[in-house]
Symmetry: C2
Subunit: 205 residues, 2 copies
């Protein structure tokens, strides 16, 4: 058993980022599964012991807890080729990881969660009202990615980095949120490059 | 003139993070101001030359452009005490920076922008409808920070890091977005510690 424990829901792309990072680096993780649809990350024990924010993933390192998917990936990948040493490239990896959390995940991942896991007929009026804006913002994020990937094989430098892992997680299942990968041919080719990486593991869904 | 150019709107807390990081580290920046209220970051030239995402801040380093406030701070602060070398602490700094962009900024900064710079009477119906949810989520973020700061002087380790800078930017002006600092006494004490840091500069507003 690894002393690194990933507290996760396997359907979450944010959790998958960490599992994929560990797989590409050959780092074993112990997995603890929670069902977010049943509120298992909002119990008093979870809030007190794992994450007061009530969210997964959390990477547990001994008696320390690290929330935020991209921070957990960073913990695992420091010193590996997934985090470039070059000063600009390292910051540029973070540039795409912050873009992912601010412009991509709240739109692409949220629509997947609403449409695939909750179901459009069960959404609140407030959620229904947000769908057009989230679809437009998600398409804008995918378009920006496609433009970059039409000129570059990877987001930063000449190989896969955490920027690619962070953006792969929800992009490769974006059609579950009603986005059309056919609109983004350079993204589609990059998804295939990612899936061909040595050690790659697919997401459970 | 510095060869580091900050493309910014001085009223933006995201831009201020970079200016504050540079000031605490004694790094000179050349400033280029844009007025986001007049669409100056959506012109064809800006989109082509500075940031296809149409957003500021962007840190220009020679002929390279780095969007995303927290990534720009990282570029400036690598190798300084603002980015700890320790593996867990470095990831933990990023944990708070991702929390800032995901849980804090879209609520605390957005309400400030809507209420102070647009004006409540000029908001769209969709924006009006989102105010209660954004206020609740912003208060949840401030409450989580207050709980941490009741037990710790700083977000990570024994001194200020980029985690503190990222969270300071919009927290110290949160009352402009209708949040009440009196509800968060540990946050208020931490704001005073930040303002007493050598080299600290105040935000233009």
């Amino acid at each position: 058993m690894s002393d690194l424990i990933l507290h996760q829901d396997p359907r979450s792309g944010n959790c998958y980022k960490i599992a994929l990072t560990a797989a590409l680096l050959g780092i074993p993780l112990t997995i603890r599964d929670y069902d977010i649809m049943k509120g298992e990350t909002r119990t008093p024990d979870f809030l007190a012991d794992v994450n007061g924010n009530g969210r997964i993933p959390v990477l547990q390192i001994g008696d320390k807890f690290l929330p935020e998917s991209n921070a957990a990936c960073w913990y695992l990948a420091q010193g590996s080729p997934l985090v470039p040493d070059d000063r600009f490239q390292q910051a540029d990896v973070l540039r795409w990881m912050f873009f992912e959390q601010y412009n991509h995940e709240p739109n692409v991942a949220t629509l997947r969660f609403w449409l695939r896991f909750i179901g459009q007929d069960k959404l609140s009026d407030a959620q229904q009202a947000q769908i057009p804006a989230k679809r437009a913002a998600g398409d804008a994020a995918l378009k920006l990615m496609d433009g970059h990937l039409a000129r570059n094989d990877w987001f930063v430098g000449e190989g896969a980095t955490l920027a690619d892992i962070a953006l792969f997680a929800y992009t490769h299942v974006c059609e579950q949120g009603s986005f059309a990968l056919d609109d983004y041919p350079a993204v589609r080719r990059w998804l295939a490059r990612m899936a061909a990486q040595p050690g790659f593991v697919a997401m459970e869904q």
